[in-house]
Amino acid sequence: MKDHTFAKASAGETEEQDELAIMEHKYKLALADYQNLLKQTAKERVDLAMYANEGLILEILPVYDNLKLTLEHYPPGGDKNWLIGLQHVIQQLKKVLAEAGIDEIDTKDKKFDHNLMEAVETTETEDKEQDDLVAKELKSGYKLYDKVIIPARVNVYKFNSPHPA
């Protein structure tokens, strides 16, 4: 069967052959779309497998954050053993999250990185060396494999030149 293309068919052939050429073109378009969709779906399946737990992890991470907060509010003179127990629990949860692909974003003494962090506030500094460094981490950030699922919320130093004497 002769392979009519849409362009050939439009060069003065019969109406029926025009229609046939159009139909063939559309059929090929639909087939191509379908095959591209198959490829895209295959890729999406791989992504889905990798990030399938993302929804559940996003629910768990705030609870993990709150658990870590309890350590910061340990009262002086409190039961040390109780504290150690809590630290073990947190460590356990950290391990489970790590095995699920979670990596905590490190912000300590780092330069502000918009790919990993979100600046929530700034602290003025007269030390130029400190400009754009993370002053304080307000909320932890996390990556799931290579994807930032929660950026670290940070306070960033902003250099303000000192007033002249």
Partner: protein, 633 residues
């Protein structure tokens, strides 16, 4: 031929979509998100940032982070909206001739150039996702945009390397996404309550156009205002309960903002939610916790005024269009805030119609832009030829069960086939009874036709393979063919009435299926229990007749008693008794079968495989036997 990208270029967020397989589909950006913040920045290192990365550094670099540039595009410098933004925006807005520019570091950019940066990112992300070049786009704009603003938006596309085939109105795009452009002579209202703006538009759909008859709204009313009210309530309540003002603490405020937005969203589906933020702050007495409940009623009492504020523009839009609510046929909801039950309730009460919310309100405008793109590419003409079958098509199998072959909403044309078998030994004919509907029992569905395939070679039940094929063409004509694989004998029927039901009848059948779902499930389960009981009785009788002499006498007696007990109940409606008798029979049969294996193993080193005695569904190696026909006389 490359695809045309549909783009919703929003004030706060943008989205993009494409036609795929005749359906509009949102394309995610490279960060994996379905929307992209409409924000552009140049970082301290001179790096241009667009979208989420620009948003994240906004606080450290406010003078060089441009957001809401849509408020400036195509406007003159002396425009009141520009003058308002001049005072409120953290970035510099400067006059350039009659027009406007924004300053990023030392350079000045027109709003078109800034918008072009956003469009460039969307274009690049779409190309990365689709693996093909994108050179053409449809971009949406608010209905109230004048010629200058529309031209400026088109110019932005050009700067970004996009040939903008058309600029369409956002409410029109929403109507396209719902397919309302096909509803000639109808009048539609589009209620758009987004993150920062509210727009209401009245559309009239005629033969080949969708006309915006009027538009009204509030350019500074949106979801963020709702969040602010909830945040204030939380702070006030905490102050009342614990005497501490959290509004000055950045971290606490951040947590409260997120909790407020989460509570607002949750209360769209539940009537009460808990706001739980442990260790929200601390003072001399130790840590303090923010734990409070919020009901939907409370939320509605807090934000009721804001929702009420949207009604006046609706009245004005109707008046400007010269219409009353009785002239309208449809209400379309756009924007995330329209998911709130109070908003839906007020809109329904005002317009007297059920609002349309089935298309994601955050994405409906981008999807509509893609539909327009599809029309321009000729895709939609093809889509119009492709229909779906509105109800499930299947055949009746053993026990009167309706076994589906083509599920409802399957795009046609389509073909499906399945292998079936016989219900009784030496059954030489099968009746194919074609049914249509969603109920699990064939008698509750619509009968479309029946025919008989005979000449099946006699064989034990479950052995013959009869392939039943359904072929449904684009016109809804169903061809059903049954072929006995052993003899090659075939029979078929053509049914023209498979799509003959009216829309109301289809809807009625679907609703009935939902209404009777529980009792239907019980009926089907009961039929399946009876089928299983029949199969077990058959297998056990066979075992007793073929291997009864190999059993211990007491085992044989016990097995006979159990199978008799099952035979006594199998025709009753006492399905629990049938199941119990079947389970007891299976336990005994398995024990006897194991004992027979053991005895055979002791007698010779390599015992033959005995017949299975407790198979409920006979299986073949060549394919699934899903159901069995009853022999019809």
């Amino acid at each position: 031929m490359s695809k045309i990208l549909g783009i919703d270029l929003g004030t706060t967020n943008s989205a993009m979509a494409i036609m795929e397989g005749g359906q509009p589909k949102i394309i995610e950006n490279i960060e994996g998100n379905r929307t992209t913040p409409s924000i552009v920045a140049v970082s301290k290192t001179g790096e241009r940032l667009v979208g989420l990365t620009a948003k994240r550094q906004a606080v450290t670099n406010p003078e060089n982070t441009i957001f809401a540039v849509k408020r400036l595009i195509g406007r003159r410098f002396d425009d009141p909206e520009v003058q308002r933004d001049l005072k409120n925006m953290p970035y510099k807005i400067v006059q350039s001739g009659d027009g406007v520019k924004v300053k990023i570091q030392d350079k000045e950019y027109t709003p078109q150039e800034v918008s072009a940066m956003i469009l460039s990112k969307l274009k690049a992300d779409a190309e990365a996702k689709l693996g093909e070049k994108i050179t053409e786009a449809i971009i949406t704009v608010p209905a109230y945009f004048d010629d200058s603003q529309r031209q400026a938006t088109k110019d932005a596309g050009k700067i970004a390397g996009l040939d903008v085939k058309r600029i369409i109105n956002e409410p029109t795009a929403a109507a396209l996404a719902y397919g309302f452009d096909k509803k000639k002579g109808q009048k539609v209202v589009v209620y758009d309550l987004g993150g920062g703006t509210f727009d209401v538009s009245i559309l009239e759909i005629s033969e080949d156009t969708v006309e915006v008859k009027s538009t009204n709204g509030n350019t500074h009313l949106g979801g963020e205002d709702f969040d602010q009210i909830i945040v204030k309530w939380i702070i006030d309540e905490f102050k009342k309960e614990q005497g501490i003002d959290l509004s000055k603490d950045t971290l606490s405020l951040q947590r409260i903002k997120e909790a407020a937005e989460k509570a607002k969203i949750e209360l769209s589906t539940v009537t009460e939610t808990e706001i739980n933020q442990p260790f929200i702050t601390s003072d001399a007495s130790g840590p303090r916790h923010l734990v409070m409940k919020m009901t939907r009623a409370k939320l509605e009492s807090l934000v009721g005024d804001l929702v009420e504020q949207t009604m006046e523009p609706c009245k004005k839009a109707l008046a400007d269009a010269g219409m009353t609510i009785n002239d309208l046929q449809e209400v379309i909801m756009v924007g995330g805030m329209t998911r709130m039950p109070l908003v839906l309730e007020k809109v329904k009460a005002f317009f007297g119609k059920e609002p349309n919310l089935t298309v994601n309100p955050d994405e409906v405008v981008a999807l509509g832009a893609a539909v327009q793109a599809g029309v321009m590419q000729g895709d939609i003409r093809d889509v119009l030829l492709l229909d779906v079958t509105p109800l499930t098509l299947g055949i009746e199998t053993l026990g009167g069960v309706a076994t589906p072959l083509i599920e409802r909403n399957t795009t046609i044309p389509t073909s499906k086939s399945q292998i079936f078998s016989t219900a009784a030994d030496s059954q030489t004919s099968v009746e194919i009874h074609v049914v249509q509907g969603e109920r699990p029992m064939a008698s509750d569905n619509k009968s479309l036709g029946r025919f008989i395939l005979d000449g099946i070679p006699p064989a034990p039940r479950g052995i013959p393979q009869v392939e039943v094929g359904f072929d449904l063409d684009a016109n809804g004509i169903l061809n059903v063919k049954a072929t006995d694989k052993a003899s090659g004998k075939a029979q078929h029927i053509t049914i023209t009435a498979s799509s003959g039901l009216s829309k109301d009848e289809v809807e009625k059948m679907r609703k009935e299926a939902e209404l009777h779902a529980e009792e239907d499930k019980k009926k089907k389960d009961s039929a399946e229990v009876k089928n299983q009981a029949e199969a077990v009785i058959f297998q056990t009788d066979k075992l007793l007749s073929e291997s009864g002499d190999k059993m211990k006498p007491e085992d044989k007696t016990e097995l006979e008693a159990k199978v008799k007990a099952l035979k006594d109940v199998k025709d009753t409606d006492r399905y629990d008794d049938i199941k119990k008798a079947m389970d007891e029979l299976n336990v005994v049969a398995q024990r006897i079968g194991a004992a027979m294996y053991e005895a055979a193993a002791k007698a010779q080193p390599t015992p033959e495989q005995p017949q299975a005695t407790t198979e409920e569904t006979p299986k073949t190696d060549t394919g699934p036997v899903e159901g069995e026909f009853e022999e019809k006389k």
